[in-house]
């Protein structure tokens, strides 16, 4: 018996950044290549003073999810510098000074001649394509299983408020998206694909339908306008009426988001590594909210400048890397944009409600998409009972933020559960070390 994830409608606030066309900004003076990917440290293979070409490999991820990282511009490596990263801390990054020549490596632009599973996986790996939806998980890993997948699911839900990057990508690059889906179908052996999109996005649905008229194997999967409709598990559940514990491949599904799919298309057709992306710069604190096509590694403040700057009476505000539900507040706008960052949102602080004691209404448990009971996890964590927190499912928290969102007493309940989760992970890690 499958228990349906409830989800909650949250006002989208997407209008402000969808009206303007995508602004292209591909010539920053400096770009910054972070030397981390997820939890892993990367190995830099160039050093200060080295000349690099656009698309040249400058760093390597060497764990079991190995992939290269490329230089977004041609120019000179200045050195390694600590710069603010969207994960809300300073991270060592390669600083590269742009020579504005856009001199690319030799095989840049060379299309893949033979479209086989192995060739596409190789291309996707060598182009360093990672999930652009936020997690940054290397995309080729999803295609590796030899058993053909049943279905490729394209995540076009973009369920967090404010963000419009995927929407403008569909609007402008629908053909690339569909070709990308075809390549992924070859790579995974899936006979069909579905594009999961919220049923309220009428214009995009019409646009996609007109492009999909002749492709029987690709269809649309309409999702309700709820948060978190863009959660992988939610989409798989809607598509297959099945759920899984670890990865979607358990039930025969491969899920990629729109931006990643387009990056796959670019990799296959142009051998273009992951060096450019679309980012939404929006929020009530921005004068002219819009979407930018940028080089990965551009400083955020340069985009803010091009979006008209901050509103005049900004006052106390949050500078959010990522969506308003799952993103993190960054101390400064002097932050480099990483590959998996989809949006920058500047929100004037508007805390109108007062934080009160939890009165136990249970809303957080009602809406939790992972079926956790956050109040219990918080209680266990506060009592120092880390084992109990694990038993209560702290590790299953997807950090969607819904519990804090619905809390009428403004309790920082997501934060508490995330801390409990971290404590459980830490305890497990030390147990592994000892054992």
């Amino acid at each position: 018996m499958l228990r349906k994830i409830r989800g909650l409608h949250i006002d989208g606030r997407k209008k402000m950044s969808t009206d303007a066309p995508i602004q292209t900004y591909l010539d920053p003076e400096y770009v910054y290549v972070p030397l981390i990917a997820g939890p892993t440290q990367l190995k830099a293979i160039v050093g200060a003073g080295d000349k690099v070409l656009k698309g040249q490999v400058v760093a390597l991820r060497e764990d079991r999810f190995a992939h290269p990282v490329h230089s977004p511009v041609s120019g000179t490596v200045v050195g390694v510098k600590k710069v603010w990263h969207p994960i809300a801390r300073m991270v060592e990054m390669l600083e590269i000074k742009n020579d504005f020549q856009e001199t690319a490596v030799e095989d840049y632009g060379k299309p893949l001649t033979e479209l086989t599973k192995e060739n596409i996986i190789d291309r996707v790996k060598n182009c360093g394509i990672v999930g652009l939806g936020g997690a940054g998980f290397p995309t080729y890993v999803k295609y590796l299983p030899n058993k053909p997948a049943d279905v490729v699911l394209i995540n076009a839900a973009e369920c967090e408020p404010y963000i419009t990057a995927d929407a403008v990508l569909i609007q402008n690059f629908a053909d690339k998206l569909i070709r990308g889906i075809r390549y992924i179908m070859i790579a995974t052996g899936a006979p069909k694909a579905q594009i999961a999109i919220k049923r309220t996005k009428q214009a995009l649905i019409a646009h996609l339908n007109s492009k999909l008229a002749e492709s029987k194997e690709i269809s649309l999967l309409l999702l309700p306008d709820v948060y978190p409709a863009g959660w992988e598990k939610y989409i798989v559940e809607r598509a297959l009426n099945k759920t899984y514990n670890g990865l979607p491949s358990e039930v025969g599904a491969v899920v990629n988001n729109v931006a990643t799919t387009i990056a796959v298309c670019d990799a296959v057709e142009e051998n273009k590594p992951l060096i450019e992306k679309v980012v939404t710069v929006t929020g009530e604190g921005i004068k002219k909210p819009q979407n930018f096509m940028i080089k990965i590694g551009t400083k955020a403040l340069e985009l803010i400048e091009r979006a008209g700057g901050y509103i005049d009476e900004l006052g106390d505000a949050y500078f959010i890397a990522g969506g308003p539900m799952t993103g993190s507040a960054i101390y400064t706008d002097d932050m480099a944009i990483s590959a998996s960052l989809g949006s920058i949102i500047v929100l004037p602080k508007r805390t109108t409600s007062i934080a009160q004691a939890c009165m136990g209404c249970g809303r957080c448990a009602d809406y939790c998409p992972a079926f956790l009971t956050p109040t219990e996890i918080k209680r266990a964590f506060n009592a120092g009972e880390i084992d109990l927190a694990e038993e209560l499912g702290a590790l299953k928290c997807i950090q969607c933020g819904l519990c804090s969102y619905v809390c009428p007493s403004r309790v920082e309940i997501t934060d508490a559960v995330v801390k409990a989760k971290a404590a459980v992970q830490k305890k497990k890690a030390t147990a592994v070390k000892k054992g």
Partner: protein, 408 residues
């Protein structure tokens, strides 16, 4: 030049900031729902006797309203004193704000509404002291109390000050003067229930004529023109309050519906076993503080489970226990005690339910839910068994002879 920004924990959108739902709104909703109930209590206990009878004084006319308001005011005053003395809050404005955000008025109003009319005002005030200071503030204030303050205070004052609370009409005080005329025994409907008849162990054999007829019909139960505590007699107003609170998403519908539904089903079975009709479960649902308790007390968020499945277990337990206490126990009412009793288990239920929610193994889930179900069915079965005619038949002459023979 780089700009500096505020740090904070996500999510950066909150339903509470957008005024979609706040604790303040939820608590205000409860008070709003109590207003018609207070007004009806005033109408039924003060205005109606004033119109119907000649010898009702003006004070007696406004008394029910005053009584409830005194309850609310005493609670607020007591908490203000507490905040002044122990939390060092000294300005009038700050005190008012603290008392408001502690929702001090609610226990006082609820307590006043569940006490019998003409309870001495000092008993009410002591009740408020228990409710707001001892059962709430000393436990840490709003959000930290273990028992529903109003309910526990009710049980305390009802038992500790029973000498001061008039219990029958002969004293001329418990009920409205006008209610005397159809009351021979001068008791609430549920008291009829447990008056031992002959040598029956449990009084369930009471029929329509003794339970309902003295008060007119079941329609009077629904409207609320029957004797009972000041504010809990009107079923219709409780149901309207329930609908309002559910629409406003202040309470979830499951607890009251499952609670009342369980009581209905068990008393239906008890009624059928005893050869009574459909009126019997309806009578049980409409009388006593069941609906009032189900809507206002069993949904009180602080002391009841948080997890959705925990709420359902809690509500089922309430229904089963209310029937047990009512039909088998020696007190007429079962609502207050069953809610307090189940509140004891709230932390246990929450932990049990939270673990069950994330359990993947369907067998484990089935076994655990089945264990709970068997426990509840056993208690309900015991209630039905104890109230069955076979159990309550007076020993016949022949039986006595047989027993004597065996003994000899």
């Amino acid at each position: 030049m780089a700009n500096k920004f505020s740090l904070g924990t996500g999510p950066f959108l909150r339903a509470s900031d957008e005024k979609i739902i706040t604790t303040k709104r939820m608590m205000n909703d409860v008070v709003i729902c109590l207003v018609p109930i207070i007004l009806f209590a005033w109408f039924k206990n003060g205005i109606l006797p004033y119109i119907k009878l000649d010898n009702v004084s003006f004070l007696a006319m406004v008394w029910p309203l005053l009584f409830v308001l005194v309850g609310g005011l005493t609670s607020m005053l007591l908490e203000a004193v507490y905040f002044y003395c122990f939390k060092n809050i000294r300005t009038f404005k700050a005190l008012l704000n603290e008392v408001y955000l502690s929702y001090a008025v609610i226990p006082g109003l609820l307590l006043a509404l569940v006490l019998p009319l003409y309870t001495p005002i000092w008993v009410l005030m002591i009740g408020c002291l228990f409710a707001n200071i001892i059962f709430k503030m000393l436990f840490g204030g709003f959000g930290y109390n273990i028992f529903n303050p109003a309910l526990l205070a009710y049980v305390i004052v009802i038992t500790a000050f029973s000498f001061a609370i008039p219990t029958n009409a002969t004293s001329g005080t418990t009920f409205n003067p006008y209610e005397d005329y159809y009351l021979e025994t001068g008791v609430t409907p549920l008291t009829n229930y447990t008056m031992k008849q002959d040598d029956k162990l449990v009084n369930i054999g009471a029929d329509y004529d003794t339970l309902v007829k003295p008060y007119g019909s079941l329609a009077n139960f629904a409207i609320g023109t029957i004797p009972g505590a000041i504010g809990e007699t009107s079923a219709i107003l409780c149901i309207l309050a329930f609908i309002y609170l559910v629409i406003r998403k202040t309470i979830s519908w499951q607890v009251p519906v499952i609670y009342v539904g369980t009581v209905f089903v068990i008393t239906l079975i008890v009624g059928l076993v005893n050869g009574q009709g459909l009126w019997y479960p309806v009578f049980n649902v409409l009388s006593g503080g069941l609906l009032f308790g189900a809507v206002f007390m069993a949904t009180e968020p602080v002391t009841t489970p948080r997890s959705p499945n925990g709420k359902i277990i809690f509500a089922l337990g309430l229904g089963v226990l209310t029937c047990l206490f009512r039909l088998v126990g020696s007190f007429p009412e079962g609502v207050a005690t069953s809610i307090l009793f189940m509140c004891l288990f709230t932390p246990l239920i929450d932990r049990f339910a939270a673990k069950l929610r994330i359990t993947k193994d369907p067998w484990k889930i089935a076994v655990k839910y089945a264990a709970i179900a068997i426990l509840f069915i056993a208690i309900a079965g015991y209630t039905v068994f104890k109230t069955s005619p076979a159990q309550n038949k007076p020993a016949s002459e022949q039986d006595r002879i047989a027993i004597t023979e065996v003994l000899e």
